[in-house]
Each structure stands twice: as structure tokens, then as C-alpha cells.
Symmetry: D2
Subunit: 345 residues, 4 copies
Amino acid sequence: MIGFAVIGYGYWGPNLVRNLWSNPEVDLRWVCDARPDRLSGVPGRFPTVRTTVALADVLGDPKVDAVAIATPVSTHFPLAMAALRAGKHVFVEKPIAASSDEAARLVEEARRRNLILAVDHTFIHTGAVRKMHALVNEVLGDVYYYDSVRVNLGLFQKDVSVIWDLAVHDLSIMDYVLPEQPVAVAATGMSHVPGQPANIAYLTLFFDSPLIAHIHVNWLAPVKVRRTLVGGSRKMIVYDDLEPSEKIKVYDKGITLNDDASSDGDRVRQMLVGYRAGDMMAPHIDLTEALDLELREFIECVVNMATPTADGEAGLRVVRILEAATQSLGQRGQVVELSSGMVPA
Amino acid sequence: MIGFAVIGYGYWGPNLVRNLWSNPEVDLRWVCDARPDRLSGVPGRFPTVRTTVALADVLGDPKVDAVAIATPVSTHFPLAMAALRAGKHVFVEKPIAASSDEAARLVEEARRRNLILAVDHTFIHTGAVRKMHALVNEVLGDVYYYDSVRVNLGLFQKDVSVIWDLAVHDLSIMDYVLPEQPVAVAATGMSHVPGQPANIAYLTLFFDSPLIAHIHVNWLAPVKVRRTLVGGSRKMIVYDDLEPSEKIKVYDKGITLNDDASSDGDRVRQMLVGYRAGDMMAPHIDLTEALDLELREFIECVVNMATPTADGEAGLRVVRILEAATQSLGQRGQVVELSSGMVPA
Amino acid sequence: MIGFAVIGYGYWGPNLVRNLWSNPEVDLRWVCDARPDRLSGVPGRFPTVRTTVALADVLGDPKVDAVAIATPVSTHFPLAMAALRAGKHVFVEKPIAASSDEAARLVEEARRRNLILAVDHTFIHTGAVRKMHALVNEVLGDVYYYDSVRVNLGLFQKDVSVIWDLAVHDLSIMDYVLPEQPVAVAATGMSHVPGQPANIAYLTLFFDSPLIAHIHVNWLAPVKVRRTLVGGSRKMIVYDDLEPSEKIKVYDKGITLNDDASSDGDRVRQMLVGYRAGDMMAPHIDLTEALDLELREFIECVVNMATPTADGEAGLRVVRILEAATQSLGQRGQVVELSSGMVPA
Amino acid sequence: MIGFAVIGYGYWGPNLVRNLWSNPEVDLRWVCDARPDRLSGVPGRFPTVRTTVALADVLGDPKVDAVAIATPVSTHFPLAMAALRAGKHVFVEKPIAASSDEAARLVEEARRRNLILAVDHTFIHTGAVRKMHALVNEVLGDVYYYDSVRVNLGLFQKDVSVIWDLAVHDLSIMDYVLPEQPVAVAATGMSHVPGQPANIAYLTLFFDSPLIAHIHVNWLAPVKVRRTLVGGSRKMIVYDDLEPSEKIKVYDKGITLNDDASSDGDRVRQMLVGYRAGDMMAPHIDLTEALDLELREFIECVVNMATPTADGEAGLRVVRILEAATQSLGQRGQVVELSSGMVPA
């Protein structure tokens, strides 16, 4: 049994509590929130769980092995750092912290204390994204591009741009799915609410290879779109998260390049590119709740001292891009290099 | 009766010939193409039309008032310039020329000689785009963004990037639909065929106002998409050119901004943005063939010495952006300012 | 305050309990189910609600004014009849009873005792169906046809055909939306599970006017479809319940009939029919939970002794059609007349 | 070289002429139409083809081996019979004749004279339907149902119901695709134009096996639908003819029946049906023009005296169903048995 506490009981916290409560390997001991009104419903549904507004109650309980943090982003760092310093394993909402500096310090602290640090990149535990991961690595061939659109109407966040709110999903999926890391980012965007950060943004990510990635996020769209195209040399994928069941479609489509053109002139250049169109296949997608799988993995990592799929380094990599993209957006798309350095061991 | 000649009888030329042939105001006199094999089918279908491989035959015919040019882009300038110098009105395929310098010289020549110069921005004569133009100007309010996706598999063009092949459509539509001109462009993209120009590209267009425009073009997509979102302060539009009849949808959706917040703190900032969702309306779209309407307009302009919707200046504006986007793409998205200057009169 | 009890706590009962619990006008006193294991979760979530396996506890409680019955169909009649005889108002799941004879006896009993009897035709309280009701009555003109498809994979019901399981939804919607009642039904169908009732069925409903209605229900379809077309002389409707927001689309389409043809012959007959295609409009749909609205209406009816939208008579009309359709299906589509008689007062 | 003539040059005839003209094995000698104005465009496009309003010109030409008939249905019989009697092979538009009696007499005449008689069931030569044919016979297992919807707005035909105009397509596809022939039909429908035949109809087809088929046709629908579901014991198909490329989707979905239930009671009956959901596959569809393939097959049959896929018997089977369905529709769905007898040899 892993002793657990959930810190933050607003929008997402109840999902963590519900999942941890029904997990037989978990002793869910505390739910903590600074606002006592939010905690009133807990005892009725989860009779053995104590509630508190005092973080010290949670961190001072020696039977708490791990904490899950679901609070506003600006508080991730102080809460996670305090928990690590109290010797607790930490599972924290995305983005892992409000800056890459904060994220790097959490990674370092967890490593020094030999504690598990995981970030809740929920999407990478969905059946659709796990399938996409497998397809990209097994059948796509060279990856040519990754193009994602995530737009809808609302909800505008306070003081945080659409990049930190929506693109964080795409960046965490890309971090998991693609075989390499981006080396630079260029972002453009605009705010239509005076005094607020951008509500529409476009990110281009550059890699050392000819792979290119692009993310379009928008809080002010008339329709909801959640669609990603991934083009490879052998197959191409469409991932539409709004499809009820056929979320992933694999197309046996592409171009063939004729390298051995022995002469020059128009005819040869025209022959360089051939087109190929074969079957499309929509693999069956496992619809198990992602959060459930994710928490099970975290618990297993705590038990076996293993590394979660989305560890602190993954959280850090995503925050680095968010930060660089925000900087680029302020400079009308001026490219910003991404420091590729890991946190020194 | 306007005496007409068509120069270039490859992919698009036959459409011009078919339309001009059936227009009672037109005396279609010549079809000219450098490749005689292409001309063999003309006499059977259009018995009174002469064919030639010699441009001089066409330009030397005093009964030819106007020529339509449907040849490869690199030849637009010399052919159009020769026609203007021979005193002919000119209707030329898009893009109007291979560089803004060439385009400007055509505009200047036409103006000096008092001849009509039109560029075949076909899409702006479709019922859907004409409806979008009306909606943007009458009901959308302030225009917040213009976002277009034009992707499919093939056809890779030789020596011309996907920007010159596909984005030219979006730029010509934007030029017609939007109430202002862009002042700068940033473009990213990638080639996946060694030695060839980009087959995937992303363009961001900046304006003096908070309007932002973005175009995604791709020759290597598994699915065909032709979709534009236009967001305004009062309404939003989805234009999907692949819909058989409901090509334009107008959404009574948006945000409302509460300006008179008199106090500070969290609660007030949260109240700043409200959401509005009302009816959606798909207006009936006139499905008359765009090319037919466009040629009628050109002929009317020739008769009345009026200015076509897509005149040489429009062609020049679009080429300026194509040129700047190509430059930006070569510099990983470095923004390029657009000279707004018209050709001096 | 209306004293309430819920009988049956399987699939649907918890939704009734959740809604009634949060209604300030309701004193939810009992949840009753023959299987005690189902009741174990109730006290934790609804501390003031008592649970019992004995119907007598519920019916013997003088503070219980009304009961909601959510048990298998075969038990609707005995439970509802017992409740009415105990002087309780009754809200019962659809279909109201397992036969028209049973349904008629419930209607009679409720009327004699001056008690409210309502059937849970949930769909008619959705925003989409209420909008369709308004449109059919206000803008459609003469109603020409009502065509509904409700198919998906599973869940096969035991001992009940797909007609009683799925077509009951369409029949209750039709009963609410259409301006007249059907007078006869013809049904065809097939079972693909030996010894079980039909899992695919097609119902045609005849009316005194030229209106025709048709319902296609199928438990064995590879895709889920929930789509209704309603054709009228002035407008036509598409109601797609799987659309997240644009569930209702109103088409200004149709034919125009030229009556004053003064001569005969081919030309005139061809001119009889003209086609009209105008705008399409998708009205904003109220997404308030239907069950919530429905229970509020029932409570209001109990308080004011008013007639619910879906009263016992509506439940009886629907069961009559289910019964007749089942009979017709057994005779390869032999038409079965519907007795239009109300229960004698 | 096969000497050919086309009779009827209205809507469909020009397609026949265009295809036959470009076929190197065909000597297209005549185009014949009773209305001389229709023939005026022929010489310009097809210089070596003679035109005539006199059938005798065509039938008297000894170099004409075969005729293609594309005239109104009521004239199919006299024209085809005259052609057969003149010793010509016959390719005739669908439906093959206006009654099963006429169709049977054509079949008999062709057989007696050892001439090829084919009916233009165009759809069965499309890549989509040929693929469906292969799938139904190879992977579907037992066929459970065939359900087709073919609706749109217009064009109302004179004096012919929607069954003869639209359902004929579905019946010809079914005749080709399904492994057995229907034994009875029940049809309902309605006319909304006074004095005209039904513009909306529903056909149920019964077979000796538990297979059931259903066709919904409607000239008065606000949207265009061309969708067929075919359910089998091992796979299920969705055929959507409006999809640009993924016209056929094969679902690895269905139910599994547990036969060896050794005890009775609720639990066992619930276990009888299990659900299976696997991958979906959209095979690549050959988009070669159906008419081209069909005419090539006809010519091959003429050369080799082989039997076309859609021979006279196929045409007769379809007309028998059209006739029986029309009769059933007049009797509110009264089932009508189909005589299964072939034309006696």
C-alpha cells in the first residue's frame, strides 16, 4: 500500500481522488486545498479520507509516501519542492512548473533525493496516443512532419497564453511520440483581449533532421478541432481526438522518389516524384481511462523505483519549449534555439 | 464583339477556350501554343478558331483586342509584356508573374498604355468567396484572424515551392476578402525531396491592426482539406470548399469583453471574458462557374475601360507576399516586411 | 416539498436519485430495490435518504407523495398500480407498461383517483426535440414525412425486441412532435440470434393525411446513427443527435407545385415540380439536462394538478404502436390498424 | 472491330458515344435519335459517325453488330426487340424494360437467336461495388442484412415512381452482391404531388435465409445520402458513395453467440451475446470509370459469345422486384411473393 495525498481539489483534483480511492494499492489519506469550501463534499463520498487546508498536515504525515498536485501552475514549484524536501514522491499537473528554471530545480531535487517525479501528461496515456507512438516508431518510416490543430471557443485563461493552456498538450504528445527532440522554435500569435496574452498562436518546431512540426492553438474558434497529421516516408497518420472510436487512421499513402535519374531535362524532373495510394486502416483503440493507467504506472514506479514515461525531464523539456515559444511570439516569430542540455546529474 | 486569343493550351487553356467560345460577345480568333500536338483537338470542337505556334500571328492580328495567357509562370512576363506592347488587353493566369519586379513592370506598362490587365484569381469569383467577402465586410465586426488550410497529396511542382502553387490561392482570396493589407510575413516550411523547394509551408501575415492571418499548405498530406476560419468580433465564418453545398457557415459565436471592471483582483479578471453561442447559418451559395463570371467581368472592363476586381495591382500584391514568404522560409521564419508601395503612376 | 421515493436502482435509477436529491422542492425519502447490494452506495452519497427492499415501506409512508419507477418493463404495471392504489403520483420509465391493456388500466386508475401519471419519455425534454417540435408546428408547413434511423452495435436485450428497446424513443418523439396520430403500422424485421426477438426492424406508420413515418432500428450496425429527417411543404429538418451542438438543421428546401397548368402534354407535366434551395440554419440548442427539466415539470404538475407533456395517455399511445408493430413484424409487414380510442373517461 | 450504333442521344447517350468512340475495338457507325436537334453536335466531335432519326438506317446496316439503347424506359422493349430481330447484340439502359413480361420476352428472344443481351447496371462495374462484392463473398460470413439509403432533393420523374428511378440502382447492386435472391417484397411509400406516383418509398426484401434487405428512396430529402450497410456474421461493411475515396469501410465488429449454454436462467441468457470490435479498414478503390469497364466487358462478351455480369436475366430479376414492390406499395405493404422462375430455355 502506497500512502497518498492529493493537493488541490478544484477542477482536476476530484478525478485524481476518484481514481486513487478505487485503487486497492493506494491508501488515500488526505485531500488538501487552501479553500475549505471545496473540501466539504469529500467526507460523504470518501469516508476514510481526511481533509485539511494545511499543507503541513500532509507533509508531516509519515504514512504519506506520495502526493499528487493539482493546483494553479504558479504554485506547482513551491508545493512540489516542499513535498520533495519532505521526502515524498511527486505527481504534478502539467505544465510541471511555470518556468524551465523551476522545472530544472525540481528535477535536480528529485534526483538528489532518489524520489519519483512525474508530470501529468494525461494524453500520452490514452489508447489513441499510445497507438500513434507505436505506429510512428514501427511503420511510418522517416517522419516528415507533425501538424496539430487544437482550437475551440474558450475558456480564456487569466494571465496565461493559449500556448501554456493548449499547446502544452501537443508538446507533451510530440515529446512522447516523435523519435527526436526539437532544437528551435518560432511562434507567432495575437491577443484580441486588450492587456491579455495571446489567444491564438502558431508554433513551428525545427529539428536537426528535415522533420518539421507545427501547432495551431486558438481559444476563439467557432468550431472545435482536435486533429493531428503525421506524415512519414512510408505511411501517414490522421489522429482526430473528436472521433468517438476511429481516432487514429493510418494511410498507406505517400510519394516515391526516383533517385537514379540518369539524364537531365524536364521529363526526368517530372518523374522524380511518384504517388502511392493504398488502403486506410483505423486500428481498434483501447478506451481505458488514461488517468487510471497513468496513476497505476506512477504507483508501479514508486514501488519499483522505476522511471515514469512522463518524468520530470519530460516536464522540463515541454516547459522549455513553452518558454521559448512565448519569447518568439513576442518577437514576431524570431526563431529561438532550445538548449538541449539535460539537468546535470 | 471583342476579338480574343488564348495563349497556352495545356491544363487550364481549354477551360478558357470553352468559356470564350460560348460567349456571344467574344470573337475567339486564335489558340496559340508552342507545342503543336496540343492544338490538334481545337479545329474539331471550335471550327472557326485558328491555331498557331507563332505568337506573332496572334499579336499581329489587328482584330485581336485581348489575350488570355495560360502558360507556365516563368513565361507570364515576356508574353504579357509583348501583348501589352502590341496594344492588347491582357488576362493572365495566377500568379501574375514570377517576381514582384516583373509584376510591377506589367502594371506600369498597362497603365501607361491604358490597357486592361487582369489576373486570373479564379476563387474570388466563386459564389462562396463572394459570399465570404460580403459577410466579412457586413456582419463580422472587427476581423480577428484569417486561418486557412489547403493540403492534399500531390501534385509536386517542379522548381516551384508549395507556396507559389497553393498559398497563392489563399493570398488572392485574402486580398479580396480582408479589409486591410498585410505589412509583414513570416514563413516556415520544409522540403522532403532532396534538391527541391518546400513541399510544406506555414505563413503568418501581420497587419497594422491586431488582425493575424495564417496559411498552411502541404503537398504531402494523407487527406484533402480546404478549410478557412475567419474570426470576427461579432460573427465567425467557416469556409469549407469541399462541402458540396454548405460551403460557408456563419456562427453567431464569440466573446464579450467587460470593459468597465471597476475593481481589481481575481474575480474581476475572470469576468472580463464572456462567451456567446447562438445560431449557425449556411447561406445558399451561387454555384455559377467562377471562370465564366470572371471572363464576363474582364470583357465588361475592356468594353467600358473599367478596373477588374483582380487587376494587375492585386496580382502584384500577391506576388510580393509570395516573394517575401519564400525569403522568410529560407531564414527559418525571420519576419520580412512588405513594401506597401503601389506602382508609381 | 413533495415527498418522493425512487423504486429501482439499477441503470437509470441513480440518475433519478441524483436529480431529485438536488431539487430543493423535493424531500427524497426512499430508494427501494429488490436487490440490497445495489443500495449499498446510497447512504454515503445521500445521507438523509433511507433504503429498503420492501415496497411496503415506501407505499406505507404517508409523507411519500410520488414515486418514480425505474425497474424492468415487466414490473412497471404491478408497481405503478400498487403505487396509484396507495394514493401516490407516479412517474414511470418508458415504455409505460408491457402491453396496451396494462397501460390503459394505469391510465384509468390514475384518472379515477385524480393522480398524476407520467411516463419518462426523456428525449422530448431535450432542447433539440423541443426545438423540433416548435419548428414542425411553426415553419414546416404540411408535414410530408418523418424518417428516423437509430442503429448501433448492441446492447441486445433479453426477451424484448429492438422495437421495444429503440423504436420506443422514436415513437415517443413522434408522438410529441407530429400534429397527428398514426392510424396503422406495418413492420418488418429479423432476428439473427436463434430463439430471440428481432434485432433489426423497420416500421412504417400511416396517417389519415399523406404524412408517412418510418423508423429503422438495429442493434447490429457497425456504426452509430441517430438521425431523423422531417420533410415539410415549406422547410425540411435534419435532426442528428450525435452532433455535439448543431443537432437541428433547418433547410429552406423543397419543391413547388405549379397547379394552374392549363394544357396537357409532356411539357406541362415536367413543369409541375420546381425545386427550391435556400439557406440552412442550425438554431442554438438549449443543452440543459432533459431529465432535470422533466422532473421539474412532473413536480409542477403534482403541485398544480396539471397534465404532464408525456402523460399516461402518451405512454399508452406509444405502447399501442409497439404492440401493433410487433404483431405486424410477425406477419411479414401485414398492416395493423391502430385503435385510436382513448381510455374512456 | 465490332460495328456499333447508339440509339438515344439525350442524357446518357453522349456518355456511351464518348466511350465507344475512344475504344479501338469499336467501329462506331451510327448515333440515332428521334429528335434531330439532339444530333447536331455529333459530327463536330465524332467526324466519322453518321447520325439519323430512322431506326431502319441502323438496323439495316449489316456492319452494325451491336446497339446500345439509351432511350426512355417505355421504348426499351420495342427498340431492343427490333434490334434482336435484326440480329444485333443489345446493350440497354436500366431498367431493362417497363414490365417483367417485356423483360422475359427480350431474354427469350436473345437466347433463341444466340445474341448477347446486357443491361446497363452501371454501379456494379464501379470499383466500390466490385470491392463490396468480393468482401461479401469472401470475408463477411453469413450475410445478416443489406440496408440502403438513397435520398436527395429531385429530380421528380414523370409517371414513374421513385422506386423505378432510384431503387433500381440498389436492386441491381444487391442482385450482384448478395449470394441469394429475394423471395418476397413488401413496400410502403407516399406521393406528395397529387396525381403522381410515390416520391418516397421503403422496400423490405425477404429471403429464404434470415437475410433481410431494406431500401429507402426519397426524392424529397434536404440532404443527399447514398449509404449502404451490410451486416455479416464476421464483418460489416459501410458503403458510402459520396465519400471521395474511402467509399468502402470494413468493420471487424459483430456479436458472438455462446451456443453451449448448459443451464437456464437470467445469467445464461445474458451471456448468449458477446460484442466484438476490432480494426476498421478502408480498402483502396479502383476509380476507373464504370461505363468504360462495362462496355469493354460487353464487347468481350460479343466477341467470345460469353455472358455479361448483368445479362438479360439480371435485368429481368430487377424488373420483377420493381413490379412487385409497386404492387405492394399500392396495398400498404402487403407482402408480394416473387416468382423465382427463370425464363424457360
